[in-house]
Symmetry: C2
Subunit: 195 residues, 2 copies
Amino acid sequence: MDERLQRQLAFSLEIDKEKNIERQTHLSGNGRRENDAEHAWHMAIMAYLLREYANEPVDIARTMLMCLIHDIVEIDAGDTYAYDADALATQKAREDAAKERIFSLLPEDQKAELTALFDEFEAFETPEACFAHAMDNLQPILLNNANDGGDWREHRVTARQVYGRQSQTKRGSERLFAVTRAIIEENIEKGNIQK
Amino acid sequence: MDERLQRQLAFSLEIDKEKNIERQTHLSGNGRRENDAEHAWHMAIMAYLLREYANEPVDIARTMLMCLIHDIVEIDAGDTYAYDADALATQKAREDAAKERIFSLLPEDQKAELTALFDEFEAFETPEACFAHAMDNLQPILLNNANDGGDWREHRVTARQVYGRQSQTKRGSERLFAVTRAIIEENIEKGNIQK
């Protein structure tokens, strides 16, 4: 087998580990915690189905791929909960080191391509990155809402914290942020999110 | 919220259940069994990275989406192990009913689109379907090989059974079938696959 294909298969095997990275969000039906690979799969399908609501037209293949790979660095860096201030402070350094190690398994051209796509997601500027972030927010809020806000209650999350993160959805989709706001307000009303 | 968006979100929530459908394959590192959503995520990324080895050029967005949705019917129909003859006999009827129920949650145009894409995968004729099937075979064989063939040993699988399924990879990628054959032969040699 030539080196190129060997590297592609080594990377393919390495990313299997993403299935072991647990998130705070629980599956619907009050299930177990979901993992990064499941979350990414879910986001990519939602991106495809909901792309008509993006503020600007998106290249859907790029958006889906961005969704699929955006958490690969967490294989080394771990999941950083959206409302954990201490972990957020060290997140970038941990993720940069992980990005270098993991994408270096690939042939140079694919390393460069996936690194650029990951950086584009993080930079949060292009229509694709903004819409992928909207999915990154909307996917867990759908699950959490289906579980009567259990994740918010467990972490005693406040409206200010939820809006701080979820209002970013606007940058990808005003339409889907309207849905998000309705879900948040309903959960504040129910006492699942602290005022 | 209008009915279209409601239906899209209802479908998005429904497919969360795919994360509970367990496969026979174990994660690398002799991990737990993987589930359909993780498997689909893994296949879609591999399809993107390995597309240069497809026998014929593939539309990569269609191929990735096909990988992502190809097992959604198993939410109702369950996973059918590749080497379970009894379950294989009833697989089509179970999956047809599931396809109708689950995709009917979507707006009509998206129901039609995803149903057609699912049927295209099943028909196994287009370059995209053939390459997606190659990923459906290659992804678990990589994991199983990394686990020293544990899944084959557990089910006492024979070389004839493995080749019966895995030789289909040729239809999507001769190059990746060469890799597959090397893995199979090595595992026959080690006694992980019965002669």
